[in-house]
């Protein structure tokens, strides 16, 4: 929950998370910021990372000073439409 977060602010946050992931990745730690989705009506922002473990995601967010409610594992599915089109 991040009340009042605008698309423009999300763009600042993205830069912060990309930079944070870049700095904290390496030395055996693998993390990459992928994308975020803002749901303004719910003041909710979902951020997708690819990382070795959740603590790294936590550290990246804390370094970017970006608040979060929780960190959950996610599974990515390719859309059937894309598969059909191929």
């Amino acid at each position: 929950m991040i009340p009042g977060l605008t698309v423009q602010q999300l763009s600042i946050a993205q830069h912060a998370m990309v930079e944070s992931a870049r700095r904290l990745g390496g030395d055996g730690a693998r993390i990459r910021y992928i994308r975020s989705m803002l749901i303004p009506g719910q003041s909710r922002c979902l951020c997708l990372f690819e990382a070795d473990h959740r603590n790294l995601v936590r550290t990246v967010n804390e370094t970017a000073q970006f608040p979060f409610s929780r960190i959950d594992e996610a599974v990515e599915l390719v859309t059937p439409l894309t598969v059909t089109a191929k």
Partner: protein
């Protein structure tokens, strides 16, 4: 204590560094580099003088920054997630919302031409780099000056390595320091060679030179030189891979350490468990015992000050002490070698006792909040101990929860929630402490306007409290669930829950909860247009506050009473009540309450046909809310919108915008003066008659400048007297007025402007 931030000017950088020596070439080069870059990092080893140089640069170029020069000292901060909070502190912003703080900061700084100095960031390099990058991208006129042992490593950064002092400047520094130890000391033909060799031995490192000069109280320059040379041959402490100059500093510190008695060495070690600054009482509690008798600590502290191990801040009453980071690191290593966990626990115990002894609903509540602000770094350290030591999470939860009103009143809502969230997620089972932590976190969330989180936390807190028969926690959980419904404009539901909470608070005999709940229900009644009921409830709450000598809740009572009285059709009485409320809120520095009062004054002015004033007051309130930052709570929007529409219609768009803009452009102090223009004698004035000032002319001048937010150094520069004399004037002022803080001096000056001699005022303008 530091002056109320609302009283401060446009910078918080200590003015007038009297002991600054040389560095002319470096200053010119740094200014040149800064003219072509928005991010400049001064790098270099510890003790080489990065901070002093950065502050000198900041002071020299402050005129180029009309929106201020702001220093954020990060040495005492360990949690990278709190870097933005430290910036909020530096910029005098309050964290009242659940928004992303970086975005809030970026919005605030975006239109401003300001300079931020981030001091001592090497241990928080990543967080500072990410924050600086985000701010510089969003704020085109912002410049950042950093001191760090390493560069931040972001694009656009220019770094400058601070070199040691050249020989001539090193000798000057030594001579300056020597004079403070041996009055009349001078570099003469007899000692010139020895001084030069000494400075060469110390490789021009300012901190090493200061430590050596402090020993002139017992040794001659020649003796110093011989002993240092001998020690340097023997000492091997410090990393062998460290640069030679770092080894020189480390060995100088070790040499200085070696000259102390065992007891003084022990004290040095133990003092490193503190963060930021600390006072004698804390030192005696934490460090005495185990070969250090309490009665000896005072003399020991004096010796450590004399040896430049401790830095004394005499502008505080009581006097506070701190340590330079290199000195602290050395002592911490020594403590670690001797096993110092017990002193971290004693440090936590001291601050836990301090917090538990707090009377947040009593006559000294504001002094307590000021004291806790002063101890904020140490509170963080105590909480961090609870978080990192096995089996201490319960104590941490209790400590963080006991600070609930401090988190709110000093605008540290996010930080309070962060601590409590960490303790709650540390896996503790159901307990009374957990129930309290849940409602505390829920309360902080509801104040931030994060209604969904607040509801979930408060419901869990209510259920756990009821399961454990924890009546007090159940009462508070239900009480604040009522506030959640109020913010959602479910007035009936809010009133029912708050009435239930009032019954429970009465049964539990909890007058703090009862006083707050009565105000909450009264506001709900106002929105329900039941003004008479609201007034009755507020009168009871006022009785409770007066019985306890409490002022925080009382200020809300007066504000709500003004609102209710206005709804009851008595606009003149309502205006007087809001004036009294606003004066009180200014005294206690309630940044949330101030805009609420000004907002209510706008509605009252509008209803009395004073549309121009109403529009300007709306502008003042908007500006004050943006500085917190916080939106006006939902239920108030109807009145706000009505007032705005009426003023706009009566004045016309152009005049309305002009008046609104006039209010919006005011600083908080200007807004307060504007809102209080039509003064009505209220209780504060009645109880403090304006007789002749008890202060001398010089003290009155000093008080007026302190009230403007100037440091003692700045006051000294302004009045062209020594800083020590200003220290003495400030202590006299505190003693004569029977007060304890600079905030209170500012409040006194504002209340007694008429009694401050005109000659004093004219001299300081």
């Amino acid at each position: 204590m530091r002056a109320s931030r609302s009283e401060r000017g446009l910078h918080n950088v200590p003015a007038g560094i009297t002991s600054f020596v040389g560095r002319r070439q470096e200053l010119a080069e740094i200014k040149h580099l800064f003219s072509g870059s928005r991010l400049l990092t001064l790098t270099g080893m510890g003790g080489v003088g990065k901070t002093r140089l950065a502050l000198r640069v900041a002071i020299d170029i402050q005129r180029a920054f009309p929106d201020g020069v702001w220093l954020a000292e990060l040495a005492a901060l360990n949690d990278p997630a709190l870097v933005t909070h430290a910036m909020f502190d530096a910029l005098d912003l309050r964290d009242q919302s659940a928004r992303w703080l970086v975005a809030t900061l970026a919005e605030y700084l975006a239109p401003k031409r300001a300079l931020i100095v981030l001091d001592n960031v090497e241990h928080l390099l990543d967080a500072c780099a990410v924050l600086a990058d985000a701010l510089l991208r969003s704020c085109p006129e912002l410049r950042i000056l950093v001191t760090s042992r390493r560069p931040l490593g972001i694009s656009g950064e220019v770094s400058f390595t601070v070199p040691p002092l050249p020989r001539s400047e090193a000798v000057r520094l030594f001579a300056e320091r020597a004079v403070s130890v041996v009055p009349g000391f001078a570099v003469t033909a007899e000692n010139e060679t020895a001084v030069g060799q000494l400075c060469k031995q110390l490789e021009g490192i300012p901190l090493a030179i200061e430590l050596a000069a402090a020993r002139l109280n017992v040794l001659s320059v020649e003796q110093l030189l011989v002993r240092l040379q001998d020690r340097f041959r023997l000492l091997t402490t410090g990393s062998r891979t460290a640069l030679p100059r770092q080894q020189t500093l480390w060995r100088t510190i070790e040499w200085s350490y070696g000259l102390l008695s065992l007891a003084d060495q022990m004290l040095w070690q133990r003092l490193t468990v503190f963060s930021g600054s600390f006072d004698l009482e804390a030192i005696e509690y934490v460090c005495a015992g185990e070969h250090l008798p309490t009665e000896a600590v005072l003399d020991q502290v004096g010796r450590l000050v004399d040896q430049s191990i401790l830095v004394r801040d005499a502008t505080r009453n009581p006097v506070r002490y701190s340590m330079l980071e290199s000195i602290r690191q050395f002592g911490r290593e020594k403590l670690h070698e001797s096993g110092g966990a017990d002193f971290r626990r004693r440090h936590r115990d001291y601050y836990r006792q301090l917090v538990m002894a707090m009377q947040p609903f009593g006559a000294s509540q504001v002094q307590w909040f000021d004291r806790l602000s002063l101890e904020h770094s140490n509170l963080r350290t105590a909480l961090d101990y609870c978080l990192t030591e096995a089996g201490q999470a319960g104590a941490g939860m209790e400590l963080a929860s006991a600070l609930w009103l401090y988190w709110e009143t000093r605008g540290r809502l996010s930080e309070g929630r962060r601590w409590i969230d960490q303790f709650l997620s540390s896996g503790s089972g159901p307990s009374a402490v957990r129930a309290r932590a849940l409602w505390t976190a829920g309360y902080l969330a509801v104040v931030q306007g994060d209604v969904p989180s607040a509801r979930a936390l408060l419901q869990e807190g209510r259920d756990l409290s009821m399961a454990l028969s924890e009546d007090r926690s159940a009462a508070f959980s239900i009480h604040f669930l009522g506030r959640v419904l109020l913010f959602q404009e479910n007035l009936g539901g809010s009133a029912a829950l708050t009435e239930h909470a009032i019954v429970l608070h009465r049964q539990a005999g909890d007058e703090t909860g009862l006083g707050f709940a009565l105000v909450q229900l009264a506001i709900t009644r106002c929105f329900q247009r039941r003004a008479a009921d609201a007034i009755r409830l507020l009168e009871e709450s006022a009785d409770i506050s007066n019985r306890h000598g409490e002022r925080w809740n009382l200020s809300y009572v007066l504000w709500a009473l003004g609102f209710a009285t206005w709804l009851a059709g008595r606009a003149d009485d309502a205006a007087e009540l809001e004036l009294r409320a606003l004066r009180l809120k200014r005294d206690i520095d309630d940044r949330v309450g101030i805009p609420l009062c000004i907002e209510a004054m706008a509605w009252i002015a509008g209803s009395a046909g004073k549309q121009d004033r109403a529009a300007a007051l709306l502008g003042c309130a908007r500006s004050a809310l943006q500085a917190i930052p916080s939106p006006l709570p939902n239920p108030f929007r109807t009145y706000h919108d009505g007032c705005e529409a009426q003023a706009r219609a009566r004045l016309g768009e152009m005049a309305f915008s002009a008046a609104l803009g006039k209010g919006e452009s005011m600083s908080l102090q200007e807004a307060l003066r504007f809102a209080l223009e039509e003064k009505v004698i209220g209780p504060a004035a009645e109880t403090q008659p304006r007789g002749p000032s008890p202060l001398s002319r010089r003290e009155a001048e000093t008080a007026s400048l302190v009230a403007q937010g100037l440091s003692n150094r700045a006051v000294a520069a302004k009045l062209m007297i020594s800083e020590r004399t200003v220290d003495s004037h400030v202590l006299n002022i505190l003693n004569k007025l029977g007060i304890q803080s600079r905030t209170e001096i500012a409040s006194w000056v504002i209340r007694h402007q008429d009694s401050v001699p005109a000659s004093a005022l004219s001299r300081i303008r």
